[in-house]
C-alpha cells in the first residue's frame, strides 16, 4: 500500500520535473530539473527492488551525462551576463524546484524507513548485483553485445567526424 503510494508520488515528481525541464528557458535550470527527475527515477528503481540499476541511474545519467551537458552549456555560453533570461527575478522561478526537491527528500526518507534491510515492509526481493550480472550477460548476452557494438560504431563515427573538422580547419588556417 505505502509502496504503491510512494510509486505514484515518485512518478508524479518524475513527470513534473521533466516537463519543467522542457519548458525552462535557462539551460542550466533545465539541467537541474532533469537531474531531479533522474533522482526520482532512481528511487522508483530502488522501490521496484533494483538497487543496482538505481545506483547506475544516478552514476551515469545524473553524474556523467548531465555533467557533460552542463559542461557544453558552460563552454558555449559566450557572454553569460548578456542573457536577459538569467537576470530575471528569482523567487517564482525557484519555487517549483524547491517543492520537488522537498517531496523527493521526504520520499527518500520514507523509503529508507521502509527499506527491507532496516524494517519489514516492502517485499524482500532485492536483486543482488550478482543476479543482475547473470541476467545481463547470460540471458541477454546477444542483445548486450549488439548494443555495445552500436556504441562502438557511434564512438568511431564521432572520432571520424571530429578528425575531419580538425583537418579542414587546419587547412583553412594555413592557406
Amino acid at each position: 500500500m505505502t509502496a504503491t503510494l510512494l510509486f505514484y508520488i515518485l512518478g508524479a515528481i518524475t513527470v513534473v520535473a521533466t516537463l519543467l525541464a522542457i519548458i525552462q528557458r535557462n539551460p542550466v535550470h533545465a539541467v537541474i530539473y532533469l537531474v531531479n527527475s533522474f533522482f526520482a527515477l532512481a528511487l522508483i528503481f530502488y522501490l521496484l527492488g533494483a538497487p543496482m540499476i538505481a545506483a547506475w541511474e544516478v552514476i551515469i545519467y545524473a553524474g556523467a551525462i548531465m555533467v557533460l551537458f552542463l559542461f557544453i552549456i558552460m563552454m558555449l555560453e559566450i557572454s553569460p551576463s548578456s542573457d536577459p533570461v538569467r537576470s530575471a527575478p528569482g523567487w517564482a522561478q525557484w519555487v517549483p524546484i524547491f517543492i520537488l526537491a522537498i517531496a523527493l527528500a521526504s520520499c527518500t526518507l520514507l523509503l529508507t524507513g521502509l527499506d527491507p534491510v532496516i524494517a519489514e515492509g516492502l517485499p524482500r526481493w532485492h536483486a543482488s548485483p550478482r543476479d543482475f550480472g547473470y541476467a545481463l550477460f547470460k540471458e541477454y548476452a546477444l542483445a548486450i553485445e549488439i548494443v555495445s557494438f552500436q556504441l562502438l560504431f557511434a564512438a568511431v563515427g564521432a572520432f571520424y567526424v571530429g578528425r575531419l573538422e580538425q583537418k579542414k580547419s587546419q587547412r583553412e588556417g594555413s592557406s
Partner: protein, 330 residues
C-alpha cells in the same frame, strides 16, 4: 522497544556521531595541514590561539560566520546560494556506506558499524562522488565571473576524466572480493590487504583521488596564480567555508575509501578495529598533505594527457590482467 524502532534509533545515533566526528576531524585536518605545511617550509604555522594553536579552527569558524555574505551583481542568486551546500552535503552523505569498524555487540544484538550496508556500496560511493561535481559547476557558473567560470569548467573536465580511472581501479577490488558491499570487501581482506595483491590498482586509485580532491599536483580548478581562486572566487564568509570544509570532508571520505578498498579497513593486530581504521585514514590524509608540500602543479594539457593516455589504459589493462589471473586460479 520494537525492533524496527530500535534500528532506526541506532541509525540516527550513528549518524549523529559520524556527523560530529567528521566535522571536528575536518576542522582539525585544516589545522594539521597548515601546521605540517609550515614545518615543511621551515615556518611555525598557527600557534597563537590556544595551546599550540589548537583553538585556531574555532577562531576561523567565528571569522567565517561573522564575515559579510557577499552576492555578486547579476549572479544567479539561488544557484549561487545553493552550490556550497551541494558540495558539502554530497561529501557528507558518502560516509553512510563506509564501514569504520567490525560489527559490535550491543544489548545482545549485533550492530554493524556502518550507517547502512548497501549491497551496492561501491556504486553508492561512485554516485555521490560524481554528484560532487555539481557543487563546483553550479557555483562557478552562478557567480557570473570569468575566473569562477574558467575554474569550474576546468574542474568539470578534470573530475570527469579522473572519475573513469578511479572507477576502473575499483573494478579489480570488486572482482577479487566478489562483492559490491564495502563491508564484505573489508571482510575479504582479513588475511592480505589488497594493496599487496594489486598494487597497480592502488596506485591508480591514489592518483585518481588526488585529482578528485582537486589537491596540489591537480589543483588547476583553483590555481591561485592564474584564476584568483577558481570556482569559489566570488564566495565569502560561511559559504566559502562550506566549500572549504566540503573539500576536507571529501579528503576524509577518500582516505576512508583507500582504507576500505586497499588497506584492509579495520583489520590489524592488537588494537581495536575502529582505532586501526582511524590510524589508516589519518595516514592517508597525512600523505595528501605531504604531497601538497612537495609537488609542483601540473600544466593543464599534461593533466589531461596523463589522465586519458596513461592512467586510463593502465587501469583497463589492470582489469584485464586481474580477470585473467582470477580465471586462471579458478
Amino acid at each position: 522497544m520494537s525492533d524496527p524502532l530500535l534500528t532506526l534509533v541506532l541509525i540516527l545515533a550513528k549518524l549523529g556521531v559520524i556527523f560530529g566526528v567528521i566535522l571536528t576531524l575536518a576542522a582539525y585536518l585544516v589545522l594539521a595541514e597548515r601546521k605540517l605545511l609550515a614545518r615543511m617550509q621551515l615556518r611555525y604555522g598557527p600557534n597563537r590561539v590556544g595551546l599550540f594553536g589548537l583553538m585556531q579552527p574555532l577562531a576561523d569558524l567565528i571569522k567565517l560566520l561573522t564575515k559579510e555574505d557577499f552576492l555578486p551583481a547579476r549572479a544567479d542568486k539561488w544557484l549561487f546560494l545553493l552550490a556550497p551546500g551541494i558540495s558539502a552535503v554530497t561529501a557528507l552523505l558518502t560516509f553512510a556506506v563506509i564501514p569504520f569498524g567490525p560489527p559490535l555487540e550491543l544489548f545482545g544484538k549485533t550492530v554493524p558499524l556502518v550507517v547502512i550496508d548497501l549491497n551496492v556500496g561501491v556504486l553508492y560511493f561512485l554516485a555521490f562522488s560524481s554528484l560532487a561535481v555539481y557543487g563546483i559547476a553550479l557555483g562557478g557558473w552562478a557567480s557570473n565571473s570569468k575566473y569562477a567560470l574558467l575554474g569550474s569548467i576546468r574542474g568539470l573536465s578534470q573530475l570527469i576524466s579522473y572519475e573513469l580511472s578511479m572507477g576502473l581501479a575499483i573494478v579489480p577490488v570488486v572482482m577479487m572480493a566478489r562483492s559490491f558491499s564495502l563491508t564484505e570487501i573489508v571482510m575479504a581482506q582479513e588475511k592480505i590487504p589488497y594493496i599487496l595483491l594489486n598494487p597497480v590498482a592502488f596506485m591508480i586509485f591514489l592518483i585518481s583521488i588526488l585529482a578528485e580532491s582537486k589537491r596540489i599536483p591537480f589543483d588547476l580548478p583553483e590555481a591561485e596564480n592564474e584564476l584568483v581562486a577558481g570556482f569559489h572566487t566570488e564566495y565569502s564568509g560561511m559559504r566559502f567555508g562550506l566549500f572549504f570544509v566540503g573539500e576536507y570532508i571529501n579528503l576524509i571520505i577518500l582516505g576512508s575509501m583507500v582504507t576500505v578498498l586497499f588497506l584492509g579497513g579495520w583489520h590489524g593486530p592488537w588494537l581495536p578495529g575502529v582505532i586501526w581504521f582511524s590510524v589508516k585514514v589519518l595516514a592517508i590524509c597525512g600523505f595528501f598533505i605531504w604531497v601538497r608540500g612537495s609537488m609542483p602543479r601540473l600544466r593543464y594539457d599534461q593533466l589531461m594527457h596523463f589522465g586519458w593516455k596513461v592512467l586510463l589504459p593502465i587501469s583497463l589493462l589492470n582489469v584485464l590482467v586481474t580477470g585473467a589471473i582470477l580465471l586462471g586460479m579458478g
